[in-house]
């Protein structure tokens, strides 16, 4: 309708959620607006306490917004009870019913929806196959492993075919290997079912590898929404740039603007092109960021920055160079290691730093 390719599945509009009152008041969500598209793997990423769970609970219906509204497929559901929303949740602790078997857990939602016995049995069978748990259908949920419980929780939430599936840090209780397997499994399930997934994590790597789009949150606000590449390459705020990956921050002065790019003057006096974020206010002093792998070492006197190598750390796939800049501050470079390559530089050596074209991004704040 508004020109976007996909329809909006869930939409939050100016949503605020305040817990407590007076001096105990906690603003868990602060004027959050976001649209999550149909059939999208959407991730809420942010540090502990930033309001991820709160937003999820508002979408699920366990809590209701203090201000603003939540819409599901265009319908305002802000105050609808959870059992009247086509939204299901995979809980962080799984919350499986301990007095039921695996199959009964998976069938519970369908049964509550009043589906026929035959339909329940068939769907449960399909779901068991989907999460590869056929062999354990009649086990009690206390008699299966953590990873298996995770699968049951997924199947239980998917069985009623909700419009939207909410997942609150579903992988955080699993060990590393199992987590990697489940990440792939989740992507497969999302692809096969075509259901919109809203996934919560505070693990940036998990967010980058799994998501179609990511919303980065901090202190109750959504700072930036975009594809993993967008978020990584074009962070619009200091928090986003800092939270995701390693970053070099440089202070600069705006020399001129041209559309979405600006000419900026670095402390060294060199002028370079940098991308501007959307909604950027006019400012003379700005901060620009550049990722460590988007610059290379150059002979002293060449490149955009000059400095002296402070130390070199070998990581196998790449080597990190920490360079003390002549104009103050430190700059980190990450260079891929060719096989059989030798150290080309030594610690204490003066070097230049050359930026890749288009590697600089201006921050909004």
């Amino acid at each position: 309708m508004d020109g976007s390719v996909r329809d909006i599945a869930v939409e939050a509009e100016n949503v605020s959620k305040i817990f407590g009152s007076g001096s105990d008041e906690v603003r868990a969500l602060d004027d959050v607006s976001v649209g999550i598209q149909d059939n999208e793997f959407f991730t809420l990423l942010g540090p502990s306490g930033c309001g991820k769970t709160t937003l999820l609970r508002l979408i699920a219906g366990f809590d209701h917004p203090t201000k603003g509204s939540i819409r599901l497929a265009g319908q305002d559901i802000s105050y609808l009870p959870p059992y009247r929303r086509s939204v299901n949740t995979v809980f962080q602790n799984y919350a499986l019913f301990p007095h039921m078997t695996v199959a009964q857990n998976i069938g519970f939602g369908l049964e509550m929806q009043g589906r026929s016995r035959a339909e329940v049995r068939e769907t449960v069978g399909n779901m068991l196959a989907l999460v590869r748990m056929e062999a354990l259908a009649n086990r009690r949920t206390s008699q299966i492993s953590g990873g298996q419980q995770q699968r049951v929780a997924l199947a239980r939430a998917l069985a009623p075919r909700p419009k939207v599936l909410l997942l609150d840090e579903p992988l955080s209780a699993l060990d590393y290997k199992l987590r990697k397997d489940m990440q792939i499994e989740l992507k497969r399930l999302q692809h096969e079912t075509g259901i919109t997934f809203v996934f919560v994590t505070h693990d940036q790597e998990e967010a980058l590898t799994m998501s179609d789009r990511i919303a980065v949150m901090s202190s109750g606000k959504i700072l930036q929404v975009g594809s993993p590449r967008d978020i990584y390459d074009r962070p619009s705020e200091r928090f986003v740039a800092d939270f995701i990956g390693d970053t070099n921050f440089l202070e600069a002065e705006v020399a001129g603007k041209e559309g979405a790019t600006a000419r900026i003057r670095l402390a060294s006096g060199v002028e370079v092109e940098a991308d501007l974020p959307s909604g950027m206010a006019d400012a003379r002093q700005v901060t620009v960021v550049i990722r460590p792998e988007h610059a290379a070492l150059a002979p002293a006197g060449q490149g955009e920055l000059q400095g002296r190598i402070a130390n070199i750390v070998y990581f196998g796939t790449d080597t990190h160079y920490h360079v003390d800049l002549d104009t103050g501050g430190q700059f980190t470079l990450r260079l891929q290691n060719p096989r059989g390559g030798r150290e080309l530089h030594g610690e204490g050596e003066p070097v230049g730093i050359a930026f890749e074209p288009g590697a600089l991004q201006v921050l909004r704040d």
Binding site: F62, Y83, R84, A95, F97, F108
Partner: protein
């Protein structure tokens, strides 16, 4: 490598620990033997003796006590007829105990739920309030209840005062009064075990059920009740057993005529001067309780396996 001496020292220490553990059990065992098994044995023996003329027993074997539990000797027709009075008291006792248990469950379950869903801090305060009635003597509490429900009591005065009724409702000295009194007295015995179950209940499961399209009633029925059932079973047993043998409450609130088993037994040891019958009735009560428990626990188990 352990020295042989060391190993035997270890064994000895372990054996000593086991002995200590058993020794710790001795006082409890003594109390149980003297306090429970002993009197039971005395009762069993007395039930097979002849009644003394002024109470007590004659040491002569007789089954009269047991016969009289079910039959009464009609002195006019000179024959044994069914002891209707006893049977109706049995029936009333069972009926009132079941009603009391159900009412206690009806009031106790929401109370326990309420307490279990309070913040951790205020829970203790609520539990404390629940136990307050235990501080007062049972007799005094029962008389207080009498004050509330008698014809000139609080309930009737208020109802007449607001013009809802003209004549006082006769509650005192009825089965209703007995049931009310027993519910009041035994309610904490229902609330506490249910609360103990509910405290362990993971309330996130309620959200999970809501999320899966279960309405409030269905969440209660399909998730909460099955998981707090151990507490409900324990609470029901704890209320049913003392109800069946209740003595003070039916005596005070039921007046003389609405007797329960406890009163009937007391009568035999008092005015009735028929100790063997009293003893036989006591053992009948015991058997009744055990049979009821057996059925109840069976039914409870069947209920849970039907779910699983």
């Amino acid at each position: 490598m352990a020295e042989p001496g060391e190993a035997s020292a270890l064994e000895e220490a372990e054996a000593r620990a086991v002995r200590t553990r058993w020794a710790l059990l001795v006082p409890a065992m003594l109390v149980l033997t003297i306090g429970a098994a002993g009197p039971l044995l005395v009762m069993l023996v007395y039930s097979f003796l002849e009644a003394g003329d002024y109470g007590g027993v004659e040491w002569v074997f007789s089954t009269d006590g047991w016969v009289q539990v079910f039959y009464a000797y009609d002195i006019f027709d000179e024959e044994w007829v069914a002891a209707d009075a006893h049977l109706s008291i049995f029936w009333r006792s069972v009926k009132l105990s079941v009603v009391t248990t159900l009412l206690a469950l009806f009031f106790g379950f929401p109370t326990a739920y309420f307490i279990a869903t309070r913040s951790e801090k205020s829970r203790n305060a609520w539990l404390f309030l629940i136990t307050i009635p235990f501080w007062t003597n049972l007799l005094i509490r029962t008389f207080a209840m009498m004050e509330v429900i008698r014809n000139e009591g609080v309930v009737n005065s208020v109802l007449i005062g607001i013009g809802l009724i003209d004549e006082p409702i006769q509650i005192l000295y009825t089965d209703t009064a007995i049931a009310l009194g027993m519910v009041y007295v035994y309610l904490p015995l229902m609330v506490l075990p249910i609360y103990a179950s509910m405290e362990k209940f993971d309330f996130r499961l309620v959200e999970a059920a809501y999320d899966l399209y279960a309405t409030r009633l269905r969440v209660l029925w399909r998730v909460i009740l099955p998981l707090v059932k151990p507490g409900i079973v324990a609470g029901s047993i704890l209320v049913f057993i003392p109800s069946l043998g209740a003595y003070v409450t039916p005596r005070v609130l039921g007046g003389g005529k609405n007797m329960m088993l406890g009163n009937l037994i007391e009568l035999q040891f008092g005015q009735g001067r028929n100790w063997p019958l009293g003893a036989a009735l006591s053992i009948t009560l015991l058997v009744l309780v055990m049979v009821a428990l057996l059925f109840y626990v069976r039914a409870a188990q069947r209920g849970s396996s039907g779910h699983g």
